[in-house]
């Protein structure tokens, strides 16, 4: 890989994506052994700098770093000096002065990882910046699809939900189109930006039309806060029209897989029996997430400064 940072899928090439997925396969092997640890990044320090609450992603990165024998520090905003009015840049420079080699950053504003990557020597890994991207999620999703389906090119993949505000959706759209899949977006018109049509993805407003014969159904979490701003009138209405029920899932191919980045709103965007059912790969996404994040850190450590 050429860049010291992972800022987004937009910034990396298909070759980079392929390299990350291949390397992740190697790490997944390691995770299957008794000794789930390798000494490769021993002595390095990773800092989780999270300006937004998150347990699962932060824990995933933390564990990935530990498995690589890296030391980990967690820096959650409410417990740090940012609350006292320290600027973003000062916080980042402080973290660097503590010797961070990796800064895993989650922030509510788009573009913050890019700003920090310009200013810091450390490798910046974007763990989610506003409504921009969440690249490691897309990479683990691609890894999961590839593992289950043997490849990504030519697959029909439906992404359902609040596309407009979802960095998971955006990163997935960029990576899966780069890898040759055909994407369909399904959701209410208020949650799917018109501009999506300009980048070559299909836009559907009903599940019945959109899910027909797809290979992969990727459900997004519906965020309750959206309700208040006129995006959709109620969660009941949303669930009724765009929730994934067994009937709707049967419109997809018989061997279609169901994915969800988590955490799920059972009964709202996805029926419980599907989440626990045979077509769901949701838990494997979590395991794969660990391997992919190990791969990302491993590869970034090897980039010449």
């Amino acid at each position: 890989m050429l860049q010291k940072d992972l800022l987004g899928i937009k910034e990396i090439s298909v070759e980079d994506i392929t390299l990350i997925l291949e390397t992740a396969a190697g790490f997944k092997d390691v995770l299957g052994r008794d000794i789930k640890k390798v000494p490769t990044l021993r002595g390095k320090t990773a800092v989780n700098l999270f300006f937004e609450p998150s347990t699962r992603t932060r824990t995933s990165f933390e564990l990935a770093a530990i498995r690589l024998s890296t030391d980990v520090i967690n820096f959650s905003v409410p417990t740090s000096s940012v609350v006292k009015g320290e600027s973003l840049i000062d916080t980042a420079l402080t973290v660097q002065a503590l010797g961070a080699d990796f800064i895993i950053l989650r922030h509510p504003s788009a573009g913050v990882p890019h700003l920090l990557a310009r200013k810091l020597r450390a490798s910046v890994i974007n763990a989610g910046d506003g409504a921009n991207e969440h690249p490691t999620q897309a990479l683990l999703d691609a890894f999961t699809i590839q593992e289950k389906k043997g490849g990504i090119e030519g697959l029909d993949i439906a992404i359902v939900g609040d596309i407009m505000h979802s960095r998971v959706a955006k990163s997935n759209i960029y990576s899966l189109t780069k890898l040759g899949a055909k994407i369909r977006l399904i959701g209410p018109p208020t949650l799917i930006p018109e501009e999506m049509k300009e980048i070559g993805v299909g836009v559907f407003h009903t599940m019945e039309k959109g899910l027909k014969d797809v290979d992969v159904v990727m459900m997004l979490r519906i965020q309750m806060e959206r309700q208040g701003k006129g995006f959709f009138p109620s969660t009941e209405e949303y669930s009724k029209n765009w929730g994934l029920t067994p009937e709707r899932l049967s419109l997809a191919k018989d061997d279609a897989i169901v994915m969800h980045p988590g955490p799920m709103n059972r009964g709202i965007e996805i029926a419980s029996e599907i989440a626990d059912g045979p077509q769901s790969v949701i838990l494997e996404q979590v395991t794969n997430g660990l391997a992919v994040r190990m791969a990302v850190m491993y590869l970034l450590a090897g980039v010449k400064r």
């Binding site: 291949e22 190697g26 390691v30 490769t40 090897g302």
Partner: protein, 177 residues
């Protein structure tokens, strides 16, 4: 212009001799396994196993070991260390493992291979078989079975080419520019 040091016949003879040596030193192949180090040692390990099968009329377990995650030179390597398959389909604990590699040079790859192997279990013994020993050790590592000793200078490179990779069987010496 690379210089050919060993041709196909030389390589076959060396591997035949090494197979005999392995059997002799270990008094048979009871509880002995071969593990080829990615990438150079994998095919050689298979060839040795095949030779040994011819002599002892018995199968012996063969595995391959990727050492990318155990290297000590991550930040100074020119290219990224690609990750390859580790396939050791047997328990290593209490077995006599013979690591196989194509060229023994500084010894660091072998050190990494031993660490990788130890994370898989607790072998009874670890021995080392290499086709070429080119000298210039940086760690106290010694091969138990050597195909050929070739003294080299630091400005030279030794490469083992094999049929399994689509090339002709030979060992060449190149000057590094």
């Amino acid at each position: 212009m690379p210089k050919e040091l060993l041709n196909k016949k030389d390589i076959d003879r060396a591997l035949t001799r090494m197979a005999h040596e392995i059997i002799e030193k270990n008094k048979g192949i009871e509880r002995v396994c071969l593990v080829g180090i990615q990438r150079g040692g994998v095919h050689l390990a298979k060839r040795l196993a095949s030779n040994i099968r011819g002599i002892e009329k018995r199968e012996m377990p063969v595995g391959s070991l990727d050492i990318a995650f155990y290297r000590d030179d991550l930040s100074i390597r020119k290219e990224q260390a690609l990750v390859r398959k580790t396939d050791v389909p047997f328990e290593v604990t209490d077995l006599k493992i013979i690591l196989v590699d194509d060229v023994l040079f500084t010894g660091r790859s072998i050190r990494a291979a031993m660490d990788a192997l130890m994370d898989l279990g607790r072998p009874a013994t670890i021995q080392l078989a290499v086709l070429i020993d080119r000298g210039h050790r940086e760690l106290p590592i010694k091969a138990d079975f050597v195909g050929k000793n070739i003294p080299t200078s630091m400005s030279e490179n030794v490469e083992v080419q094999l049929e399994e990779d689509g090339l002709e069987d030979r060992v060449i010496l190149e000057k590094i520019v």
